[in-house]
Symmetry: C2
Subunit: 107 residues, 2 copies
């Protein structure tokens, strides 16, 4: 059971950030009941009005894949993609240390 | 008292990632006693062997500035900078929603 940390950067079509944000937040609500999901944080870039960052932390990669493949999640993806400029940048990262809240996967 | 969230991306000189990571983790230890610091997570990019991401979450921006201006922190910065390819990318982000661990600043 390997943990999963993702840093996602999405560039939206001009003026579409709030609309995409609403879809992302609604989709993240589906993770509330999934205890393997420690974090799925939707944030706005302070300097670029067309950029959204989503930081994901899961204790189990398989659970993330399962959650992303549900029909409801695929519907959210279908809604968001046309509002983006190109595909999202997705960076998988591995924890090496530092200070983290309880429950975060360690190095 | 405004919260602060940062997504930092550092590109290191070839082969220097572990050395920079050690400096970052040692510097993050100084945040353990600072309760305003909810997270200072040092991670390695899974696909680029020269990239480190540091995700910071502070409940108080002033506390972050104070922590970064101490002589010991400046010494860590002095050690790390020569090992980087250019300056770090720093993205300030504002939380808008999603699932987060307890204690995280909300939207």
């Amino acid at each position: 059971m390997s943990s999963l940390m993702l840093i996602n950067k999405m560039t939206v079509k001009s003026g579409k950030r709030d609309e995409v944000t609403a879809v992302l937040i609604e989709s993240a609500a589906a993770f509330e009941s999934r205890e393997e999901c420690i974090m799925s944080l939707v944030t706005h870039d302070a300097d670029d009005p067309d950029v959204i960052w989503v930081q994901d932390v899961w204790t189990d990669e398989g659970a993330h894949q399962a959650a992303m493949s549900t029909p409801s999640m695929q519907e959210f993806v279908r809604q968001a993609i046309p509002l983006l400029e190109g595909m999202p940048e997705q960076h998988r990262v591995y924890p090496t240390g530092g200070k983290t809240p309880t429950g975060f996967p360690q190095a």
